[in-house]
Amino acid sequence: MAKKMKINDVIELLKDADVEALEGVTFEGDIELEIDETAAGIDSLFAYTMGQETAKIGLYLLNLARSVGYPVDQIAGMPAQPLAPSVPKLSKLIESKFSVGTNDEWKTQIQEVTLGATSSDGGTRGHTITLGGEKALPYYFDAPMPNRNYVTIDVFDMPIGMAKAVKSNYEDVMEDPGEWAKKVVKEFNADLVTIHLISTDPLLNDTPAVEASKTVEEVLQAVDVPIVIGGSGNPEKDPLVLERAAEVAEGERCLLASASLNLDYERIAAAANKYGHVVLSWTQLEINAQKELNRKLMKQCGVDRDRIIVDPTTAALGYGLDYAYSNMERIRLAGLIGDEELNFPMSSGTTNAWGAREAWMVSSPLKEDSDWGPREYRGPIWEIVTGLTLALGGNDLFMMMHPGAVKVLKEITQTLFGSIKTDEIDLSNWVAEVVA
């Protein structure tokens, strides 16, 4: 039985076959051929199994068409013999609409936690800051993000060693925590101030808790932003230091840093409850430990949900940031889909970035490395990228040190948050317009 076919139909049949040379070949014009279907047996199974054979048939058909006088070459726009691919014509674009759904698994809101108390709430802060409240991953279009990210800048109760690029900003105030706090708020735009009572460390000055708490009072007087109070990291002494500090700061709704599983977290929780503060629940890159500590704080110590912020640990870019990022992202995702032991605002010790040798070493210790360039530019960007990555993983509060890094981190997080408006720019010819 003979069937009339157009060349295009043949090509269509051959499309499924494994024939590279014919891919994308189309023809214009109606060249009709008669083929004996039973003889040639061109169906898709045939095309599939015969592979190269079909290609030959295609060529044969074209030659046949040519030999009986069809202007194949002209129509197909091809040079005489070879069957080179030619360009198909789509005369106009196939109009399409893009759409995508929102995520309906994110049903649980992240807890909102407020830091600082104004006079109407029994404190002396000029304003309060609220963290958390998200219903989606940060900056996602699924649900508006209710609160922006905030930055707290580190202040220490004694001069300490720090990377040169950081130190140069604080040399004039290192002896005076009050002045130091003023500087970070006025000049470097800190949203909050963290006062680290590191001099209490028995291996450093072993400052008594009572004396250290005076520094907290000093800072509270110097600035009116909400404050974070940190110990020295010594698990034996920190509970005592934080208890005293909490007492002198009663009613200010400070963040106490930190409660962790390797110290007497009950005492810190009790101090927060008694004097009206918030607890930083700190674990080290372990999601189950984070759940455990949060559970203990809530169930065993009676800390209210709106008084818990978590610090799942920050590792620097190149030194474990992969762990820190995925850990935070997992915690946030778990919170959003309903894990009520994990849906708290998160805080990052972003200053850990300065521990990375790329941030502070004069040059690479490796001869094979390309030049590392001046370190004063490497350090701040190391702090920025470390913080920014965690911002994308769901982190809300950043503990930082370098003023330049603070500025850039705020700019990008607030841009993604949606509060930075600028003139629109036209990208349509960027390739030629970028001058650099």
Binding site: L90, L93, Y140, E329, R330, S370, D371, P374, I384, V431
Partner: protein
């Protein structure tokens, strides 16, 4: 990927357990296909004609959700896209973001060659290998085909890295292709204005092509659907990277939308790699340091969130170092244990007077220490203790690095201090100082405490070695 259990995959395999793939059984091979540590082609029998149907079906089932596009040729060829999940902890992200740096056709030859060399030669040691950047983007700022052609030619003569040819003028792109089509460059870009000519070029030269539609996802999809219809599959999407303000926020959302449509919703007609152009930072920032910083910020955002390829300008170390590191952060496979085999390794050619240094078998720690000593030409024995792949500081805190473990390391290696050393001394990492007494008691060796950071061993040795 359309399958998720080894059993589903197993059905398509020859099921002979012949072992030619290097796995003991077809089932084991199946699970490696799922975690993508093996490819179907690693099973020679399935390539046989009689399995062709199964082979093709399985290929289809295992294909990544986001298409993988290959550019360049030979050793420097790059894979772009290829992702299967939205979050790295769900599996891992595949095909690390391809980093391209620009040159332009109005640069002097000297400047152009200098930049291309810096781009191709950049390297940064990290965990046993060098981090590098991948491509050179040649921008036509002249809009002159002959100038562009000359610049492209110069680039191909200077580097083997793959190229991105950048111009919205098809004649300029065609001129560039004349001198580098055999290197499989990427064409940047087809737009709603030039799509006809650019699609012809892409078809003719079989090159991947970027579709560019700033801020308009309907238009981007329109282009993608049309190109597919024409027979072009090696497509990369550029939804436009606006450098600031609300437009940047929208850019970020567009990246999320495209990737969610591709992976979560399986919308095949938009499931292509996405590219970003942090280089647009230079359109809004005058000061070069500010522009470079902001460019790195944009590059980081889109490395973390779904950028499969990107074009940057700054090649300052303070841009390149964080850019290659954030990429390695995001694309490190969270499934593979990052550890090395414990043992006592020789670095250089140690003699009896050479130091014996102790570290742990966390890959990051081991390679950092190893490279610090070898690059400073220190000959020594490096005893790598099995701490379950935990670094020094964390394993001291967690109890995996102990005096007993250190002794065990030397015992297992049959390392005899009397025979191998003249000093009977080991050097502990500064962060493990508190183990000093224990190690002395357990091993009977003299113990010296090194600096906290192994980068400082060289300087430390000047005053502390040999032990007096």
């Amino acid at each position: 990927m359309k399958v998720n259990s080894p059993l589903q995959v197993y059905k398509y395999l020859p099921q002979t357990n012949c072992g030619e793939c290097g796995e003991a059984t077809c089932m084991a091979f199946a699970s490696h296909l799922l975690d993508r540590s093996n490819k179907i082609e690693d099973c020679p029998p399935i390539l046989d004609g009689k399995y062709k149907k199964k082979y093709l079906e399985l290929s289809e089932l295992l294909a990544s959700e986001i298409r993988e596009v290959i550019a360049g040729v030979g050793e420097t060829a790059v894979k772009i896209g290829g992702d299967d999940v939205l979050y790295r902890h769900q599996l891992t992200f595949f095909d690390p973001t391809v980093l391209a740096y620009d040159v332009s056709d109005t640069m002097s030859e000297e400047e152009l060659v200098g930049r291309v060399k810096k781009i191709s030669e950049f390297k940064k040691f990290y965990v046993g290998a060098f981090l590098k950047v991948d491509m050179v983007a040649v921008r036509s700022t002249s809009n002159d085909p002959s100038k562009f052609k000359a610049a492209v030619k110069k680039v191909t003569e200077t580097t083997t890295l793959p190229l991105i040819l950048c111009s919205f003028n098809p004649e300029v792109l065609a001129a560039g292709l004349e001198v580098c089509a055999d290197r499989k460059p990427i064409l940047y870009a087809a737009t709603k204005e030039n799509w006809q000519q650019v699609s012809e070029l892409a078809l003719e030269h079989k090159t991947p092509v970027v579709l560019f539609s700033p801020g308009d996802l309907d238009e981007l999809k329109t282009l993608a659907v049309s190109f597919k219809e024409i027979g072009i599959n090696d497509i990369i999407l550029d939804p436009g990277t606006y450098p600031r303000g609300e437009q940047l926020k929208t850019t970020f959302e567009n990246f999320l939308k495209l990737r969610r449509a591709g992976i979560k919703e399986g919308q095949k007609d938009i499931a292509y790699p996405i590219m970003a152009t942090p280089i647009t930072s230079w359109m809004v920032n005058e000061d070069p340091i500010t522009a470079s910083y902001w460019e790195t910020v944009l590059a980081s955002v889109f490395t973390v969130k779904y950028g499969d390829m990107m074009i940057m300008h700054s090649i300052e170390p303070y841009a390149l170092l964080p850019e290659v590191h954030i990429r390695s952060t995001i694309f490190t496979d969270p499934r593979t244990p990052v550890r090395v085999d414990p043992g006592v390794y020789e670095v250089g050619s140690p003699t009896k007077d050479s130091p014996v240094i102790i570290t742990t078998n966390f890959a990051l720690t081991y390679y950092t220490v190893e490279s610090d000593i070898s690059s400073n030409d220190i000959n020594c024995y490096l005893a790598t203790v099995d701490t379950d792949g935990i670094g020094v500081q964390a394993s001291v805190a967690g109890g995996q690095l102990t005096a007993a473990k250190i002794k065990e390391t030397f015992d297992n290696a049959g390392f005899d201090f009397k025979e191998k050393t003249s000093h009977n001394t080991v050097i502990l990492p500064g962060m493990a100082a508190r183990l000093q007494g224990d190690v002395e008691d357990t091993t009977g060796l003299n113990v010296k405490i090194g600096p906290p950071d192994s980068g400082r061993i060289f300087g430390w040795m000047e005053t502390n070695w040999p032990p007096k």
